[in-house]
């Protein structure tokens, strides 16, 4: 069974536990600047929106990469960056319509969400269940249910 990250912004409080968990898993430090999930604050509207790669099936980044440094992890469905092969050309960052693959100056290669190899840290760290890791066939099911309840 394939699983996906499901994000429900209306539950998010902007605490950035997810960013810390992500950066800690990826770099060993608590460093929101290096997180692959980002939480955006819309102050005037009073809204917090977590955002990260949705692991497209026909991933733009993967197709754009000239050196095949982005590959599919068959077990998780994640599109993963092979850091040894990536040449840092940034074409993928142009190709991704969502901006969720980014160049990192320190490592000189790009970074993106890799679902932590199938056991992602951000949903575990999120105190409000704004991020959950669910059966890929069920993304949106909760929201559908909530709307169904209102009809």
């Amino acid at each position: 069974m394939l699983k996906s990250l499901q994000i429900e912004p209306e539950k998010c409080t902007g605490c950035l536990q997810c960013e810390m968990a992500c950066s800690y898993e990826a770099t060993g430090l608590f460093n929101p600047a290096k997180s692959r999930i980002k939480v955006f604050t819309f102050h005037e509207e009073g809204r917090f929106v977590p955002y990260t790669c949705t692991q497209c099936e026909e991933a733009w980044c993967m197709h754009a990469c000239p050196v095949e440094a982005i590959v599919v992890n068959q077990a998780t469905g994640a599109k993963e960056v092979l850091e040894d092969i990536c040449v840092g050309c940034k074409v993928c960052t142009v190709a991704c319509p969502f901006g969720t693959i980014n160049y990192v100056q320190d490592t000189k290669v790009v970074a993106k969400c890799d679902l932590c190899g199938g056991d992602p840290e951000c949903p575990k760290a999120c105190p409000t269940d704004a991020i959950t890791y669910v059966d890929a066939d069920h993304t949106g099911l909760e929201r559908m249910r909530a709307h169904a309840a209102q009809s």
Binding site: T13, G14, C15, L16, Q17, M20, A21, S23, Y24, T27, G28, L29, F30, N31, P32, A33, K34, H43, E44, E45, G46, R47, F48, A125, P127, T128
Partner: protein, 616 residues
């Protein structure tokens, strides 16, 4: 470890900037943030220096847990000598800047001297530079924030700034970070402005590490987060209603300071409560509260994000206030509301927005307005001073005007910016000032909650709820229920809360965790993160050492046992209604026992033995 072990020292007089290693011997004795920065300050300044002169220093400081995955680990503090009280000031704030400072690689910044011209400090990891602030001096915090974000093209730059109130010399100006979080009390912003320092803008991308035992730390913090989630206050009450969860509770027990503390219950409490913030309003069907919000790393998320009714007289022609911003917390709601006799939530939210926009403390501000209202009703202040406005209890117009005046220091705002003590002295009624050591009261009348009387009288920064929140025990039964009208055992209770708070404030976490966490939950998290032994006993010893260090400084700054008191009103005039009817605060019964427990002399000084015990 967990400390970055780096201190950034900025001499504003000559513009020199240097890096020095953190004094780890002191870190072992004072932990971090409040305790450790106080140790630095005490060692470096003359207790009798002019708080607004170049000899005072101002320290921005994080704790060893700041910037880690511990819940609420985004806190930072500002430590300096207060212009309002003349003793130590230590104001704690959440938001995001504490983490950013830590991520840039610094435990603390020590500002000394006074800049010849207005400047701001820009930090990008290792790099720190003072930049002329001509473009933002004379501007509000919100304008400065917008300018700096634009200038550096960095939406994630974290900014702390002072507003126009501080520049105008308001004695209770704070430092606002992330638009609406505040190191609010005791005039720390006034000190910052007196140094011609407008803002600190930080970008940190180095990461926080140095965790002594990572596996143990992740385990301890995960368990402790569960405790917060499962607790009724931190898991339900605070996220849903914020600290405003307390408004109706405190009113019912006859401890809600009302009309400059003349009364202990407010007939309009329901209108300004946390519950009322959820009621849809007539004009647009939206409630005052849009959402709750968290500070960095916080799994409680008590923050209020609110709007004002667009049809309200304060903002109908001011679209710049139509959006969301930081709304009412309980302390502000009492000060702007019941204490002024005002039950109009929109005007209160407006005043709160201005407090954030121009950086002044809503508690001290509201209480000073309340004192001015009482002086007005007595005829000591007239419409001559108030620009023709009837400055009466309950007047939304007066509150709105007062907030606008203090924001810029214009007109009667100059007088209101003096704080309640100096205002009441100026207009000939010093007894009407509801202050301890010159600082205004928070939201708990000590006639109805006896232990709080002792906590206020002995607080090391003047009247304050965060220096020993016995409300937890006396009202909410945390960790054990004590009778709020009883004085027996309160000396011990106050001391335990004071010492515990000193640890929490020195670790880098939020005081509100202690609704759910005891030292048994906190110590293991510190212990896993930091080198050395951080058992419960060690933590409590450090807390007590910090308390004594602060007291010792305050004594040296001229404070005596005579200052450990409450306004006459609370000691002589009995509560007129409610469960505490007929009661005054029996401070006299608690204070001598407290001194003894502390190991102080009858005149409130540290004995030699106490000094030796803590190596002071």
């Amino acid at each position: 470890m967990a400390w970055t072990k780096n201190v950034l020292r900025i001499n504003l007089t000559d513009g020199s900037i240097s890096k020095e290693p953190l004094n780890m011997e002191w870190a072992n004795d004072y932990l971090g943030q409040r305790g450790l920065a106080t140790k630095y300050l005490v060692e470096e300044i003359d207790p009798n220096c002019d708080a607004l002169g170049p000899d005072n220093k101002l320290i921005m400081t994080t704790g060893p847990l700041t910037g880690t995955m511990v819940s609420t680990g985004g806190r930072y503090s500002v430590v300096t000598k207060s212009p309002l009280t003349g003793v130590l000031a230590c104001s704690n704030s959440g938001g995001f800047i504490g983490n950013e400072l830590k991520n840039a690689g610094w435990d603390m910044i020590i500002f000394e001297g006074k800049s010849p011209k207005p400047v701001y400090l820009y930090i990008e990891n290792e790099k720190a530079e003072l930049v002329p602030a001509d473009e933002i001096w004379g501007k509000s915090v919100w304008e400065a924030d917008e300018y700096l974000h634009k200038k550096y093209q960095d939406p994630l730059l974290r900014i702390a700034a002072v507003g126009r109130s501080a520049e105008a010399g308001c004695l209770y100006s704070g430092i606002i970070n992330d638009l609406h979080r505040a190191a609010g009390r005791s005039g720390v912003g006034t000190v910052m402005a007196s140094k011609n320092l407008k803002a600190v803008a930080i970008r940190g991308t180095r990461g926080v590490g140095n965790i002594q035992d990572s596996a143990a730390f992740m385990k301890a913090t995960t368990e402790a987060k569960k405790v917060l989630a499962e607790n009724a206050v931190t898991g339900e009450g605070l996220p849903a209603l914020g600290t405003q969860v307390l408004m109706n509770v405190i009113n019912e027990m006859g401890a809600l300071p009302t009309r400059n503390m003349k009364e202990v219950q407010f007939e309009g409490a329901g209108d300004i409560s946390g519950e009322a913030m959820l009621e849809p309003r007539e004009s647009d069907g939206k409630p005052n509260l849009t959402t709750n919000a968290a500070c960095f790393g916080c799994t409680i998320a008590c923050g209020r994000i609110s709007t004002i009714d667009r049809t309200h007289f304060t903002i109908e022609n001011k679209p710049e206030y139509w959006g969301n911003s930081g709304g009412l917390e309980f302390e502000a709601a009492f000060a702007l509301g019941s204490d002024c006799g005002v039950n109009d939530m929109d005007v209160m939210t407006y005043a709160q927005f201005l407090c954030n926009e121009d950086g002044y403390d809503p508690i001290s501000f509201g209480c000073t307005v309340a004192a001015a209202m009482e002086l007005f009703e007595l005829g000591a202040i007239t419409t001559k001073e108030t620009d023709g406005i009837e400055f009466k209890f309950g007047s939304a117009e007066a509150l709105a005007k007062a907030a606008e005046w203090v924001a810029t220091g214009e007109g009667f705002g100059k007088d209101l910016g003096l704080g309640s003590k100096r205002l009441c002295e100026k207009y000939g009624h010093p007894d009407l000032s509801m202050t301890v050591k010159g600082q205004e009261f928070p939201a708990y009348d000590p006639r109805g909650i006896q232990g709080m009387g002792l906590a206020y009288a002995t607080s090391n920064r003047g009247a304050c709820h965060l220096r020993g929140y016995t409300v937890a025990s006396e009202v909410l039964g945390i960790p054990v229920k004590t009778d709020p009208l009883e004085t027996d055992g309160k000396a011990e209770l106050v001391k335990a809360f004071q010492d515990g708070s000193a640890v929490v404030d020195s670790a880098g976490i939020c005081a509100f965790t202690t609704f759910a966490w005891s030292m048994e939950d906190i110590a293991p998290q510190i212990d896993a993160a930091c080198e050395g032994d951080w058992s419960v006993d060690k933590c409590m010893e450090v807390g007590e050492r910090i308390w004594n260090l602060e007291r010792d400084f305050n004594n040296a700054a001229g404070m005596t046992a005579a200052d450990d008191t409450l306004p006459k009103r609370l000691l002589k005039d009995a509560a007129n209604v409610g469960p505490a009817k007929g009661r005054v605060n029996d401070l006299g019964k608690m204070l001598p026992e407290y001194y003894e427990l502390r190991g102080w002399t009858a005149d409130g000084k540290l004995t030699d033995e106490t000094r030796a015990r803590f190596g002071l």
